[in-house]
């Protein structure tokens, strides 16, 4: 855990890493407390005056066709997008680590079978997989969406963990510790945790960005977060028809996505440099 702390400190020291961390921190705060401070977009329907209004002092991001304040919706959408991404990535990393551990430790037929499966699964583009899965049911509850995204994202992580386990098995210090009476399993697990924690953290950070892009894409297709739950992708879809007349409806959620994913990329990059023994 100390290593992670040191790495985070290194990230903070690089200008781009710091910018990323600050933005993400700001976004999390916004997502947690923003909706409390801003008017609830769900109750903003002004049925007399359903019109999209361009950005003004009252509505810094303008309103959409249903007179909902875009800024409030973007902030509410932040909540959903971040929550979905965080949970899905947590699931992916856990699954991937688990499978990788099993494959690397047991070896033999189990390993071969699992890795062949991973190879096959990796051949199917994730988007297609999700489209196929999400098209069937009538409604996809949010939790199911998280589950689906999470279970399609563990393949690369499993390879990473498996490689690490295999490497550790060959290390002489494992054999030496075993000779001194320590349980082989525990040695590998402990060292695995230490060695793999870094790359896993990097993968998780970058994964959050990827899931945000994925989820917004699915929402744009109508397959992801279902209305009226606000999501950035859904908002872009809403603004599609009005892109000429009222571009702000689609523009602001898009900018939110760009900034968020950029932040995760910067932080992920900085973390990767921090964990790399060779240095940047």
């Amino acid at each position: 855990m100390r290593i992670i702390g040191e790495a985070l400190q290194t990230v903070w020291e690089t200008p781009r890493g710091r910018a990323g961390v600050m933005f993400l921190g700001f976004l999390v705060l916004l997502a947690l407390f923003g909706p409390l401070a801003l008017p609830d977009p769900a109750r903003q329907f002004d049925l007399d005056e359903l019109a999209a209004v361009s950005p003004s002092v009252d509505h810094p991001f303008g309103t959409d066709q249903l007179s909902r304040d875009v800024l409030s919706r973007v902030v509410s959408g932040a909540r959903i997008s971040l929550a979905v991404a965080a949970l899905a990535v947590a699931l992916s990393v856990t699954l991937g680590a688990g499978v990788g551990l099993i494959a690397g430790y047991w070896g033999g037929a189990v390993d071969a079978l699992l890795m062949r499966l991973v190879d096959g699964a990796l051949a199917i583009p994730r988007l297609f997989l999700l489209m196929l899965v999400l098209v069937v049911p009538d409604r996809v509850p949010l939790l199911a969406l998280v589950l689906m995204i999470g279970t399609t994202g563990w393949f690369a992580t499993s390879r990473l963990v498996r490689a690490e386990v295999l490497r550790l098995r060959e290390e002489t210090f494992v054999q030496a510790a075993e000779a001194l009476g320590a349980s082989r399993r525990r040695i590998i697990l402990r060292h695995l945790l230490v060695n793999a924690a870094g790359p896993l953290l990097v993968a998780a950070t970058l994964g959050v960005g990827d899931v945000i892009l994925l989820e917004s894409g699915l929402s744009f297709l109508g397959l992801g977060v279902q209305p009226p739950t606000p999501s950035w992708g859904g908002m872009i879809l809403d603004g599609r028809a009005a892109i000429e007349a009222a571009p702000w409806i689609s523009i602001f959620p898009g900018v939110a996505i760009v900034l968020t994913v950029l932040a995760t990329s910067l932080v992920g990059d900085a973390l990767r440099d921090a964990f790399d023994p060779r240095g940047a």
């Binding site: 781009r16 062949r116 499966l117 190879d119 096959g120 699964a121 990796l122 051949a123 199917i124 583009p125 994730r126 988007l127 297609f128 997989l129 489209m131 196929l132 899965v133 098209v135 069937v136 049911p137 009538d138 960005g209 892009l213 917004s216 894409g217 744009f220 297709l221 109508g222 397959l223 992708g233 872009i236 603004g239 599609r240 892109i243 000429e244 571009p247 689609s250 523009i251 959620p253 898009g254 996505i257 760009v258 900034l259 968020t260 994913v261 950029l262 990329s265 910067l266 990059d269």
Partner: protein
């Protein structure tokens, strides 16, 4: 065929088979009948029954799987619920447009991307280096459908600079040159959109590879021979830094396949991506499945091709 090539091809075939089996299982694991959509159906009752038999939910799983795989081997991917036509036919019809878009993006990415990556490596840690990294990361962070929408909305519709949709002007006159030009004009925005979003990967790969190479002793030897710096960087350096970028070419196919989905949809580009989107809207499962099969096939093919290219270009692999 050299032994290594045979081995790689067989591996690829196995991977594809597993992918297809996984796709098949997907249909059966899910709750709900994928074919029970009451949406538009241009199928005759017989066609529908044949489709049901194909995904035959009343027969044992194993035999269904065999039917499925055999069908694919014969090029039969079922019939579209939406159009009533064979899926394979639809896919083949739409493939060229996607390949055209993909080709354009590939060209953009691998010329501009490679050049920028090498430039960055040579000017490591300079202002230009840092800016290119940040800008390309911003590009990666941009949702392709959003960028496409914005570009289409502003450059296409509002300012009328370029066409905002479709592949051809429906009112255009014939003639090979005029048509080609027309298609190219329509290609610009979608290609730029998809390229902007994916170029970061290429630049990153190339920069990293180039940095590693530039520190190697044979670069010093090349300079010590009195060669011009351009030759040292591009002939001696880049030739060795090419490999990771080549493996990227193989990974490109899946990126292309996924990325094209959104871009084609936003720009109404008549390729596989927009076909898939329409299938989503109409819950046209056979078409989606067919597209998935094709996508998996392209991914496996792309990976195999990049392995081959690697081996061809690195003499060490061949003679070992």
């Amino acid at each position: 065929m050299p032994r290594w090539l045979l081995r790689r091809t067989l591996q690829a075939a196995l991977t594809l088979a597993i992918a297809l089996i996984l796709l098949f299982l997907l249909v059966h694991v899910l709750p709900g009948d994928p074919l029970a959509r009451e949406g538009d159906r241009a199928l005759t009752p017989q066609q529908f029954e044949a489709l049901r038999a194909r995904y035959g939910l009343d027969r044992p799983l194993a035999s269904q799987l065999v039917v499925f795989l055999v069908g694919i081997a014969r090029g039969d991917l079922g019939v579209s619920i939406q159009y009533g036509r064979p899926v394979t036919e639809l896919l083949i019809e739409r493939l060229p447009a996607t390949l055209l878009l993909g080709g354009a993006v590939l060209l953009l990415n691998f010329t501009l991307g490679v050049w920028l990556g090498v430039r960055q490596a040579v000017r490591k840690d300079s202002l230009e280096d840092r800016w290119i990294t940040t800008l390309s990361l911003a590009g990666y962070a941009t949702p392709s459908f959003w960028l496409g929408l914005v570009l289409a909305g502003f450059i296409g519709v509002r300012w009328h600079l370029l066409p905002s949709g479709g592949m051809r002007d429906p009112l255009g006159t014939g003639g090979f040159a005029a048509t080609t030009l027309d298609v190219l004009r329509h290609l610009i925005l979608p290609a730029i959109t998809l390229s902007a979003v994916t170029i970061a990967v290429t630049i990153r790969y190339q920069r990293t590879a180039m940095l590693e190479v530039l520190h190697l002793p044979y670069i010093v030897t090349a300079r010590a021979k009195g060669l011009p710096e351009g030759r040292v960087v591009w002939v001696h350096g880049w030739r060795n830094a090419l490999f990771p970028v080549l493996t990227l070419l193989g990974l490109w196919l899946p990126i292309l396949v996924s990325g094209s989905v959104f871009v084609e949809s936003v720009f109404a580009w008549p390729g596989l991506g927009s076909l898939a989107i329409a299938a989503v809207g109409a819950r046209d499962y056979p078409v989606l499945m067919g597209a998935g099969v094709l996508a998996a096939g392209m991914v496996v093919l792309g990976t195999l091709l990049s392995d081959v290219a690697y081996a061809v270009l690195d003499p060490r692999v061949q003679t070992s």
